[in-house]
Symmetry: C2
């Protein structure tokens, strides 16, 4: 689950041409926390999911939809 | 945000005719944790969102979509 989220997060961030530092700045988190999330080593809270979605300019539900797909493809 | 999630969670649970205890049993959480979530006093993690969605037989993205709508209507 966290792996799938991390993978989607990295893809979206790179699509937007953002560094981990830039995404961290936009969303209010430290670069190292973004890195931990992308490696699936932290589980984001609901609030974090909404904050990251806003910074990535994607609806939270669309981000979660991608995590669902990724979860299935990682099984 | 947590208030919106809690409100959606309670609606979905009641729609399905489940008690807090029954939803807790289905999803692997204690009844008191379900109660805290419904009152917006806890922020669920990604894993919790997926576990609760499964017990409520709803896609996680659809649950989050409802939270988005609820967030807007609570503003």
């Amino acid at each position: 689950m966290e792996k799938a989220f991390g993978s989607v997060l990295r893809c979206l961030r790179q699509d937007r041409g953002l560094s981990q530092e830039a995404l961290g700045f936009e969303s209010g988190y430290h670069r190292t926390y973004i890195s931990l999330l992308e490696r699936g080593q932290k589980s984001p809270s609901l609030q974090t999911i909404f904050n990251l979605s806003k910074a990535l300019k994607i609806a939270p539900a669309d981000l979660i939809k991608q995590v669902e797909f990724r979860t299935h493809s990682l099984l």
